[in-house]
């Protein structure tokens, strides 16, 4: 278990961490997600004790560790550049931490062999670091940091130096390994897919602040603000005014539209208090060319952008620009074509980070995001 309370860190005049606080329960993986320069790595260094915070507390396993030096914190750290010792072979790299604990040689050998087996690197034992591939180095770094049975495992962009295919394979494996060992982990990445695959909880970082913290589902489907919405790919953001409020739903008038456009939104508690706010819709949740859902708009295709999963189509409907995700085969329009758009009321959310009262209804399958580009 780890708890951070109001961590503040400044480098010179620049505040890199502003009042950061969160708790990771035992065995959970917390992912810190955000662009570079957001303060994520600094936070890991503070947890490990390599950098001292200017204010706030770090609590590991219910013990305040503010003044405990890094060598006594029992924290495993997987560095972005792996930080493997080039003058030692793989076995000695992994055994390094165990030898410091004055364990018997037999026990050390057994532990190192076991972890090497677990990570499929047994045959690399006698190799030196510069003889290894990126993926192998990554496994050795992971083995070295978990063999000491740390209370907390910190991982700083562990897959960022690998090629995309290997990264995809390893992110699933890394999660399995962390879960097998049962260690509490804090995992830093800038990759949304990686965060979704690995994390139990995600904290979205921007400029030293946590923009939103929650489960994968929370941040993905209930973004709290524009930054998070854009970050998770829910980049259709519209400003609206609540004009009607009934038992089951609210009616919102889109402010930026050229003519009055009304959309139906689930009944969120916040809409009772706040009349004007931003809403987001995932591009995957908008149907193109069909009027199947309650919310229907009419517009013109403005742009067609090829992406990994198919096409991203920008449609202008009465001045509202909406991105729609479609597969290449299902799309037979060209730029300038008029087209119908429709979306379910459950797929539009006010940017407040909360769920609606009538929650419980599952999303249609199509809105489970595979990746955000």
């Amino acid at each position: 278990m780890i708890e951070l309370i109001s961590i503040v860190k400044k480098f010179g005049n620049k505040t890199v961490l502003k009042n950061i606080g969160f708790k990771v329960n035992a065995g959970e993986i917390m992912v810190l997600l955000g662009g570079s320069g957001g303060g994520k790595t600094t936070l890991l260094n503070i947890i490990a004790g390599l950098i001292k915070q200017d204010a706030g507390d770090v609590i590991i396993k219910n013990k305040l560790v503010n003044d405990v030096p890094p060598e006594k914190r029992n924290v495993g750290f997987v560095f972005q550049d792996y930080a493997l010792f080039p003058h030692k072979n793989v076995f000695d790299n992994i055994a390094f931490g165990l030898r410091l604990k004055n364990l018997k040689r037999d026990l050390i050998n057994r532990k190192v062999n076991k972890i090497m087996e677990m990570l499929n690197i047994t045959e690399l034992a006698r190799k030196y670091i510069d003889e290894l591939s990126g993926g192998q180095k990554q496994r050795v770094a992971l083995a070295r940091s978990i063999v000491i049975e740390p209370d907390i495992l910190l991982l700083d962009e562990p897959l960022s130096a690998l090629d995309p295919l290997l990264r995809e394979k390893l992110r699933i494996e890394i999660k399995r390994i962390i879960k097998n060992t049962g260690v509490t982990a804090v995992y830093v990445t800038h990759n949304l897919t990686e965060a979704m695959t690995v994390g139990d909880k995600i904290a979205i970082f921007d400029k030293g602040e946590i923009m939103q913290l929650g489960t994968v589902d929370d941040v993905l489907y209930y973004p709290k603000n524009e930054f998070v919405a854009n970050f998770v790919g829910a980049n259709n953001i519209i400003k609206g005014k609540v004009v009607e409020f009934s038992e089951k739903e609210a009616v919102v008038e889109v402010i930026s539209a050229l003519k009055p456009v009304k959309v139906f939104v689930p009944k969120y508690p916040i809409l009772e208090k706040k009349r004007e706010m931003y809403f987001c819709i995932h591009p995957e949740n908008i149907l193109l060319g069909l009027k199947e859902h309650k919310n229907v708009l009419f517009g013109a295709v403005e742009n067609i952008i090829p992406v990994l999963q198919g096409l991203r189509v920008v449609v202008n409907a009465y001045g509202i620009k909406l991105c729609v995700s479609v597969t290449k085969n299902s799309f037979n329009y060209k730029i300038g074509d008029k087209v119908w758009l429709s979306f379910d009321k459950n797929s539009i959310h006010p940017l407040c980070g909360k769920r609606s009262r009538l929650e419980g209804k599952k999303f249609p399958l199509m809105c489970i995001k595979k990746d955000a580009v």
């Binding site: 924290v75 560095f79 930080a83 390094f96 940091s145």
Partner: protein, 263 residues
């Protein structure tokens, strides 16, 4: 265009020929001169085993070993201090450590005299304890250490600064103490730089002349013996001593090259 390019090539060629002439004149010619001098009187080789040669040779080899050993320990610790500890006036400190690189040897010798001499800053209190440092073997070691130390500090520091800080951080998180990190990470990874520093320091120490001359009293090291024998007309001794010193220098250069090549 091509005429212009040809002109430039011609200028470059002239400069290269000039460089080679300087090299031939200043390095090749003196070596040939020495070999010719030695060959003129083959019988003079017996001087090699005479008192005139062996005494300064032994003195030089051992004082240089002692000063290199002191410089190694002091140099590594100073490099560590400057690289890994928070110290005030780091830049000033760095300049002071490198001072012997640029200080004229006679100034160095004079400074040592007014520091360790009988009435010097350190020498005076020591004289009360009956300790006299100047004009002894110790004085030679002090003078050699003075000039050799910066070689080791500089070379070790360069090697230490190349060690990625995350290696040290990784060792820390695995529970390593400062001493252990020094022994197991920093020292092995800066080994090459340290060895190179040691080789250069030994070369500098064994060849030290100016400062040693001022503090050695009646003792003669190899370079001083060459100076005195050349001045007093004992050419055969000067020839052989020079040959010995040049051989040592070549040997040191060979070791240095090997150290730098081995990874």
């Amino acid at each position: 265009m091509s005429a212009f390019a040809n002109n430039r090539t011609a200028v470059l060629n002239v400069i290269m020929i000039f460089g080679f002439c300087v090299f031939a004149l200043l390095i090749i010619c003196p070596l040939i001169a020495l070999i010719l001098n030695v060959l003129q009187d083959i019988a003079s080789f017996k001087v090699l085993f005479s008192y005139h040669v062996t005494k300064p040779l032994v003195l030089s080899i051992f004082t240089a070993l002692a000063s290199t050993a002191i410089s190694t320990i002091a140099g590594i610790s100073l490099a560590y201090l400057m690289e890994y500890k928070k110290i005030f006036f780091r830049e000033t400190f760095d300049t002071l450590i490198n001072l012997p690189f640029v200080l004229p040897p006679s100034v160095a010798g004079y400074l040592l005299l007014i520091t360790f001499g009988k009435y010097g800053l350190v020498g005076y209190p020591l004289s009360f304890l009956g300790i006299e440092l100047m004009f002894s073997t110790v004085a030679i070691v002090i003078a050699q250490t003075f000039v050799a130390l910066p070689f080791i500090v500089k070379s070790t520091r360069t090697a230490m600064s190349a060690i990625p800080s995350n290696l040290i951080n990784a060792a820390k998180t695995m529970g390593a103490s400062e001493l252990l990190i020094f022994k197991q990470i920093i020292l092995p990874l800066s080994k090459k730089g340290i060895l190179a520093g040691i080789v250069m320091a030994y070369a500098r120490a064994i060849g030290e002349f100016g400062a040693t001359m001022m503090v050695c009293g009646l003792l003669t090291t190899l370079p001083i013996a060459i100076y005195t024998s050349a001045l007093s007309g004992e050419r055969e001794v000067a020839n052989i001593l020079s040959l010995v010193l040049i051989s040592i220098s070549f040997l040191i250069l060979a070791v240095f090259k090997k150290v730098m090549k081995n990874d």
